[in-house]
Symmetry: C2
Subunit: 372 residues, 2 copies
Amino acid sequence: MPPLNAVIRLVSSLVTAAAVCFALPAQAEDSAPQKVLIDDEGFSLMHMMLINSPQIDVVGVTSVTGNWWAPRGAAMQLRGLELMGRTDVPVAQGAVYPLMNTEKATERWEALYGKLTWKGAWMKQWVEPTQQSTPPYYGPNDLSNLPWGAPSTKVTPQAAAVFMIEMVHKYPGQITIVEGGPMTNLALAQRLDPEFASLAKGLIYMGGSFNPHRVRDDRSAVEFAREFANSPRREFNIRLDPEAASIVSRAPWKQITVIPVDPSTATQLTRKLLDRAAKGAKPEVGKAIAGFEAGFPLWDEIVAAVLLDPSIVTEAEDLYVDYDAAFGATYGDTLSWREHYQPGLGEQKARVVLSIDPRKLDEIIVKSVAAK
Amino acid sequence: MPPLNAVIRLVSSLVTAAAVCFALPAQAEDSAPQKVLIDDEGFSLMHMMLINSPQIDVVGVTSVTGNWWAPRGAAMQLRGLELMGRTDVPVAQGAVYPLMNTEKATERWEALYGKLTWKGAWMKQWVEPTQQSTPPYYGPNDLSNLPWGAPSTKVTPQAAAVFMIEMVHKYPGQITIVEGGPMTNLALAQRLDPEFASLAKGLIYMGGSFNPHRVRDDRSAVEFAREFANSPRREFNIRLDPEAASIVSRAPWKQITVIPVDPSTATQLTRKLLDRAAKGAKPEVGKAIAGFEAGFPLWDEIVAAVLLDPSIVTEAEDLYVDYDAAFGATYGDTLSWREHYQPGLGEQKARVVLSIDPRKLDEIIVKSVAAK
């Protein structure tokens, strides 16, 4: 019989293991590929990771306005799938405008409540000198200067929200919605069809901010800390369309996994990582990867990595989550409650990932985009 | 000639020292006692530390509704000064009610936005089982069960706000206002007399919350972390009267020092600390100290300690600070901006203390309350 303290240690590590397991979206244990629909503003490493993985069956890719306008995002997605030789994956264009938020209103908001660090498609300049480039400012339908040229394939006839609804009805309980941008399409889908959320297997999204702290010491990390140091509850994807985020957070999903800013502060898309990933990928894809700008925290890539290998999660918590949709100083800020404190207005309990293993993330990225 | 890296280390430590010096309220260097007016809900170790220190000349003590109602606070202050043999210090009773916030409105707010952890004078029970006692619920004018009995001395005829205005006119540029509770009196004084803030030497207050993290592992620390884990920008003093806090933060002070929740997470009013402090104090005062409830973070005591020995500060930052006065999910939340991001609506630049040396704090407390 083992001594009592060894038993306690064993029980304790089982409890820890159970806590981590509970953090896993269940699909990791299935043998059939996990059906996934990716909604995001463009075409990033996250897309490549999921589309290239034999564990994942991407049933569609949709665009939404965020860092870029949705039409530009859809063109990048079509072209990205062409580079990957995966034109079998349908692309649907998403909502061009957030539900309520506008570029003009954002300017007035800034005059009352202070300057935003990042404004995505509405970004004209950084407030302070910043190492990362400022993306060129385009109009909503401007498709000039696409990074990999114009696609020859076309989007589906349906808008993204309608396409999503069709997909969850076609594969009820089987599709995990992966959200890497603002939630405009998801909110539209939920209001078009009240069954939308409950027909999905679950939702995993990059968005929100709980209590992030800077982990890395390099210049990029110091500059990105500007985004949360004085606004720990603000995150761009949610802030661009707060009303949509609140609608989605109150929808009846079977399971929600949140990847907020918090775990990203330990990560970085370094030049070395890009070179490693590019080297292992198919030549056309590798060229695209090598062309990505280095220096950003890995936001959406954590979403893909958690789907591919949930053991990457080192800290997570179950919380009720909603977003502030009132047009005041904290428009779009993350609202969260532990059990007993929540108002009970439909906000759902979500699994919030607070930290991950950044070295494991790099390995998952390199491995998942490698030529199979 | 020293090697270059030694020079760099020296320069680096001088820069650090300069940054810390800049954090000091300037009075530490004066030889004459620093004139101070203390506004707070009751009579705490903070009062004892300042009133007993030869470095400090307390020109008045005023009460405000916070953890207790203002009339109760004034009675405790009169009695506390009697115990200390300092009935020469005048006491003025402050505002009984916050500017806009009410107990009833707080209940409705909680139904919409979730339960508050601490509600001060309006507290009836903890949401979860909690080690700290729940203070008995009193009406606004109930003076029963005062901790040290009823005082025989009386408050000044003027209300606290009027008394404060008189004092800054009597000693222009000389008085540091020490705020340990909600800012109702300060806001009233500023609106009664637009010169109020600019006639003070400066303001130092316990209030606000920037990005606190739990530091200690004991049960009390774990329980107090409930207050900020899902609301990192909420703090009770400000949350009780957000409109007052915004008025005060936009007033033209010569200098503002903020002691938010952040530095308090490394501190605790332990039984051992209380016993040490009680043992060194005059018998009557020691008895009162020994009767304080242990387990709380040291909030207001940091304010007194920073005045007595600014070298206690280990991290501080200059930020523009305001508070959210809109009655929504983030009513009373701290708003802050680095230079270039602030809206410029009157919000002042403040020195925000983010961490302190907790062992030094204990020593300052014990030393400052010791019988002289």
